[in-house]
Every structure is written in structure tokens, then in C-alpha cells.
Symmetry: C2
Subunit: 288 residues, 2 copies
């Protein structure tokens, strides 16, 4: 059944006049007549009662007019919706990101996305470092924002930001400025560090930092969660090294001493992901 026929029917059901209706829908009266006839044949029921002079809806026709009107609007709405999905203006995208940037660049990125595509649904999830790529490959997430460079096949990456590492100490601590740091004074500190992940580029940078001062740190606790680390430092249990993105979190009682080491933030996605939503988001984020 052709929807065009239903549209013709609805027009005629409104006008109840073949000539006027035919003109309105831009076909000839004979074409309209035959469209209605074949629609009636196809349905196996009569839509109009008509003599050579008058046109009137049958009860079944009246019923179909009401129902089909609703149905056509619904189909139009579905089409509209699908088009938005096609253009990447609508849909769901799941993003994993490290806690560290949840108060720095994430709000900016999210603001940009929701402004450009207000219909988009974004799902933010926290995923352990080690699971990120697996989740990405297994379609559990669509985007992973990481501090690690990956060379995994089928995953594409792009650097979108980089921030400095910072030494995080309580306000009362003797370290006030970068110049206060020395191999001797550092040796005396207890450190709280991110989970040591072999081969993780983020860990490597921290290791490089310690190597530059030529000492092995006294690490008494590892945690993957920055907010946990910060709480521990505030309690005076030790000092930490974190990306200075954490400065954007509200963290009274702490001092961030910037260090001359940078850590990159990368965005990762499936190379074969053709979801238009993804393309739009990537475009936005690259411009960032």
C-alpha cells in the first residue's frame, strides 16, 4: 500500500469533492478517481459512498480517516526523528573519562556538545583504566578519554589537551613553591600515588619525574581515584602527584605546586564506528 494513496484519500475525505481535491494534490481528477478505486480494492472495503453528484464517507471510511491521520503524523515524526539520528543530532553516546578532568575540561566539552546538539543524550561512566579499551571495543562505551596513549588496532586516538602535573600538599606543609623541592626534602616524604600500571604512559611520566630528582619515592598507598587521594592528603597522610586539573575541584586546605611535567589527555574511539553522533562530537572536541 502506498502512503501517497492514503494522503489522497485523506484529502478527499476532507474536501468530499474530486475536482477540488485533485487540484489540491496536483493530479488530475481521473488519477484521483483511480487511486481511490484501487485503494478500495486493495483494502477490500468501500471508503466513500458516491453517485455522480455527491461524495460521502462510509462508516469504515470515517474510521480510517481518523486513524490514518494520526498514523501519518506518527510516521512523519518517526521519519523526522530518524533524520536527526542520521545527522548525529540525536542519539545516545556513552563516554568514559578520568575523574581528574571532571571539573576542568569535561564541563567545557559537555557544554559545547549540548549547546550544538541539544537533543543528544550523553551518558558519562567511570571505567577503571585497565578496562577502558575493552569496554570501547565491546561497544559498552563509544568514547574513552584517557591519559594513556594506545596503539591498539581498531582504536583511533587524538590528543585534545594536556595539563601539568602538580605536587599536592596540605597548606601547612613546608613545601610552598617549586623551589622548595629537592632530592633531600622529597626523600623524606610519604607519597600517595595512582595505581602503578605497567606500560601506562601516565605512570611513566610520574616515574620520569622521580628519576629527575634521582630517588625512589616512599609510596605507602596507591589509589586509582583522585578524590580519594586528595582526601588522604588533606588528612595529612602524605603528599601526592596529580594532574593540576584537580585544582578545579573545590579542595580547601590543599596547595597545588605545578611541576614542569606534562600529561596528555587523549580521546579514543573505534575506527570503524560510523555513528554520525560520534563524528559530530569528534569534530566539536577537535576544535576545542
Amino acid at each position: 500500500m502506498d502512503l501517497q494513496r492514503i494522503k489522497y484519500f485523506l484529502a478527499l475525505a476532507e474536501q468530499l469533492h474530486y475536482w477540488k481535491t485533485a487540484e489540491k494534490v496536483n493530479i488530475t481528477q481521473s488519477a484521483l478517481t483511480r487511486q481511490i478505486q484501487s485503494l478500495e480494492n486493495e483494502l477490500g472495503l468501500q471508503l466513500f459512498e458516491r453517485n455522480k453528484r455527491n461524495v460521502k464517507l462510509t462508516p469504515a471510511g470515517k474510521f480510517l480517516k481518523e486513524k490514518w491521520e494520526v498514523e501519518l503524523s506518527e510516521l512523519a515524526y518517526i521519519h523526522q526523528f530518524a533524520k536527526q539520528i542520521h545527522l548525529g543530532e540525536r542519539g545516545i553516546i556513552t563516554i568514559a573519562h578520568p575523574d581528574s578532568i571532571s571539573a576542568s575540561i569535561m564541563p567545557d566539552i559537555l557544554a559545547k556538545i549540548t549547546q550544538a546538539f541539544p537533543q543528544l543524550q550523553i551518558k558519562l561512566v567511570q571505567v577503571l583504566y585497565e578496562n577502558q579499551l575493552d569496554f570501547l571495543k565491546n561497544y559498552k562505551i563509544d568514547l574513552a578519554i584517557t591519559r594513556d596513549i594506545t596503539s591498539e588496532q581498531g582504536i583511533k586516538s587524538q590528543k585534545i589537551y594536556s595539563d601539568h602535573l602538580a605536587l599536592v600538599v596540605p597548606l601547612a606543609h613546608s613545601f610552598k613553591r617549586f623551589e622548595d623541592l629537592s632530592t633531600e626534602s622529597l626523600k623524606a616524604q610519604k607519597f600517595i600515588l595512582p595505581t602503578k600500571d605497567e606500560g601506562s604512559s601516565y605512570s611513566e611520566i610520574i616515574q620520569a619525574l622521580f628519576k629527575s630528582y634521582d630517588f625512589v619515592p616512599d609510596v605507602f598507598l596507591h589509589s586509582e581515584f583522585g578524590s580519594t587521594i586528595i582526601a588522604l592528603v588533606r588528612k595529612g597522610l602524605g603528599i601526592a602527584i596529580l594532574p593540576d586539573s584537580y585544582m578545579h575541584h573545590q579542595s580547601p586546605g590543599l596547595r597545588f605546586i605545578p611541576l614542569p611535567f606534562k600529561t596528555d589527555i587523549l580521546i579514543n574511539w573505534r575506527a570503524d564506528d560510523h555513528n554520525p553522533v560520534l563524528a559530530n562530537i569528534l569534530k566539536l572536541v577537535f576544535d576545542y
Copy 2:
């Protein structure tokens, strides 16, 4: 847009394989390819991601598959429903009938209708005698069951039943049998009669009855409502003449004395009413 195309799409979205799908829907693979292509063109979006080896739904395609499946079932249901209306198995019909038969033939008729067409909705209304034909002509009711013969143009009638008139008296009344009636004894009675409607065939029969006894009755009250009349008779305010259909009402304390006068019950409908529901009901009622 042709619904057949959507059906092809849904089949392909299920199988994700052109050859198998083409076979399943009984067209060749080339035809299927082109149907999908033209559907995509028409919609202005891509439904499948495909290379020469694999077929996969795009996000928009996945969305449309889900939605269109629902929509097609809905359309099929609507078609089904419309067909029932066409066959007169479904719909609403409004019937006006006199109070007198609400306990006699109406229950039989209604039982017959609902048994034959369980999907049918019947609306029973009480309409004043004088308004019945107007309501019928103005599409406020579809069927009028009356005791009056009408010669109105555009209205068709058919006699479906006839019942006797009966004299209605309190049990204690001196009239016990038809033989107790005489001109003398009748003259002494106070009568409660239906509203005298000039030209009404029902009234005429009652007038004929009185004429046969050659006297003019002492009528102290007219009412159009049989149940009112019965209540008044029971209270001893007078005696009445009613169709013996009222015997079927539960009316303790009353005696019905059948009279040798008959009153017809007719069913009336618009001559130009082609509602299939009506045709079905008429067929049933005529067989009654």
C-alpha cells in the same frame, strides 16, 4: 512511500543478508537492492552500512526498524478493524424505542444482535414520539422503533411485531374479564391514556376502541410514559389502555385484560443509510 518497501526493509533488517531476504520476500536480489536504495533516497538517510560482504543497520536504521515494526502492526490492526466496520460486524448504532416494549421484544432483539455481532456497540435512547422522526432524519439516531406508521419521505418502515391492547386495572377492580366490559360500565370509569397525538396511528386505534363501545371516555390524565401510567393505575387513580407488552414488566397489583385490538410495532430507518451495521441489524430483526 510504499509500505511494501518498508516491509522489504524490515525483512532485510532482520536477515541482514540480501540474497536470503530477497528469496524470503519473493523478489530477486537486484530488485531488493534497488528498493532499499530508493527507500534510502526517499528518506534522505542511510539505513544500512554495507560493503560487498556485510550488511549492518545504521543507528537510524535500527531506530526505524523498531518503530516501523510497531507502526505496521498498528496499520494492520486498523485495516482489520475497518473491515469489520465494512462488514457491519463492528460499529455503533443508536436505537430509540418505546418504553412499552423494553421488557417484551427488546430484550429478545438485543440478545439476538449481540449474539450475532458481539463487537457491535448499541446505544439505546428514549425519544419523545414527536421527535423520533426528526432525530432519525438528523442522524441523532439510526433506528426508531415506533407504534406509528410514517409516510415520511426518506424513511423506510417495516412492521416487526404486533401486540394486543389491554385494559389495565387494579386487581381489586370490578373488571375481571373482557366480558365484564360494557358501554355502561366503561362510561363510569376514569381513564389515563397516552398523550393524544393527532394523526398518530396508535391514538387512532384507541379512539377506534372507544368508538366500538360508542362512548366518549372520561380522560383525566394523559402521559407519554407507560411506567407513569401503570403507577397511577396501581394507586387506583383510574384505569388505562396499554399494549399488553407491559405485562412483561413486573407489575404486581395490576390486571391486564386483553382487548381485541392490535397495535403494530414498526422499525424505521433512513432509506439512504448504507451503514452495513444497519443492514445486518435489519436482516436480523426482519427474521424475528
